[in-house]
Amino acid sequence: MRLVSVAVFFVTWWIASLFIGHAKLPPPPEVLQVMFAQAKTGALFVNLGATLARVAVSFTLAMTLGTAIGYWMGRHRLADRLGDPWLIILLNLPALVIIVLAYIWAGLTEAAAIAAIAINKLPTAVVTLREGTRALDPALDEMARIFDFPRGRAFRHVVLPQLAPYIAAAARSGLALIWKIVLVAEFLGRPNGVGFEIGVAFQLFDIPLLLAYSLSFAAIVFLIETVLVQPFEARLSRWRPRAA
């Protein structure tokens, strides 16, 4: 069914290009041609690689910190009260402001880009994990205490499985957010990456190049979603009884 859906997308695009005109919306073969040309020179892989590396580092950073802070805020009332105003500000601050400020304060550096992307993702991870921690079942907590579970075993086998759906939700929404933000960060201040190439294509009004990079990027996101995210979610929920 997924293949049918993808085929429908390409057919729709092709038909649309006939109506709108090749100059504004090149048909799929023209875009694929540019894609292969970029792949042949190696530029496509270098730029995709740079973007993926930024996504991987900032995602890991945001998820690790977000999970730890969210768990801490969910467990401790004082931490929650202290952290809540920061969360509200960060949640509502536009991504563009954070990226521009990071580049102004830390220069047009890799660290500034990664920090800006991670800071954009961080508050949503914190909020999701805080809610997950608040929803932890105190009855299971008591069971672990009565049966004298060591702290590590209790965290791994009692707490973490309860947080798993929240971690998965934070990861999924976080990944979606980071895919979008990373391109803006690259567009504004990096010398490579999909966002940078899209910026170049925009300045040259090179629509086939713009679409070639956009399509490659979408293909990678789709692949990661199918090969990594969905199997991970299925693994987490394999103990749940299936609906009849």
């Binding site: 299971l140 008591e142 069971m143 009565i146 004298d148 086998h157 103990w239």
Partner: protein
């Protein structure tokens, strides 16, 4: 392990800040291997008492002494199994040192052998209760606490599980405390009954049951029930 309990007062504050007394002057001791049964009306504070005795609640006036090594096994009202782990894993996580032979014997007595790899979500309440019982016994507890282990089971299943519990308690040196509001369970399983009043709960009567557990007849049960009825009547 001898258990000594002397709780003078336990209160809790409701959302409006008003304090309510839950327990008042609860004092008793259980000898090693003895099975004590707490019997009382619903909502009188039995579970609060258990939380204190198992160390989950420290906010009370009085003293609870559980000398020696404290291995506590508990069967909660709801089974409290980890839904993401199999039946066997649930037991092994609580009792990592349990040997395979002993675990198999427990599974056999509790008729769980065919359910080792099942997840709790696939079990009926009766089966889940038996897994919780197996978990509590697998750690070879010094102090075993059973909080209404037969509640909300159908009569036939409750009778069968009760005889399984009786069989497992036989000849053990585990000090056991059973909480129930079912007099049949209390008389069939206990060595001594502690009859609690309504809130604030206090021990109104203590009733020893002298007949050996395995030889208790219908008439023994009826006699104890009559005695309880007489005591309740005498108290108005």
């Amino acid at each position: 392990m001898r258990l000594e309990v002397d709780i003078s007062r336990k209160e809790y504050a409701n959302a409006a800040g008003q304090r309510h007394e839950v327990l008042r002057h609860i004092a008793f001791a259980l000898e090693v291997g003895e099975v004590g049964v707490i019997v009382g009306p619903s909502g009188c504070g039995k579970t609060t008492l258990l939380r204190i005795l198992t160390g989950l609640d420290h906010d009370y006036q009085g003293r609870v002494s559980r000398p020696g090594e404290q291995r506590i096994g508990m069967v909660f009202q709801e089974p409290r199994l980890l839904p993401w782990r199999s039946v066997e894993d649930n037991i092994r996580l609580a009792a990592p040192d349990v040997d395979a032979k002993r675990l198999s014997a427990l599974f056999e007595v509790l008729e769980l052998s065919g359910h080792r790899s099942h997840f709790p979500g696939e079990l009926s309440l009766g089966l889940a209760r038996r897994v919780a019982l197996a978990r509590a016994l697998a750690i070879e507890p010094d102090f075993l606490v059973l909080d209404e282990p037969l509640a909300s089971l159908d009569e036939a299943l409750a009778v069968r599980l009760r005889s399984q519990i009786a069989l497992l308690l036989e000849g053990r040196s585990t000090t056991t405390l059973l909480v129930t509001h079912n007099l049949d369970d209390a008389v069939r399983l206990g060595d001594r009954l502690f009859l609690l009043s309504a809130r604030p709960a206090t021990i109104r009567h203590t009733l020893p049951i002298r007949a050996p557990r395995s030889a208790r007849s219908e008439s023994d049960v009826a006699n104890v029930k009559n005695e309880i009825a007489r005591l309740n009547h005498a108290n108005g």
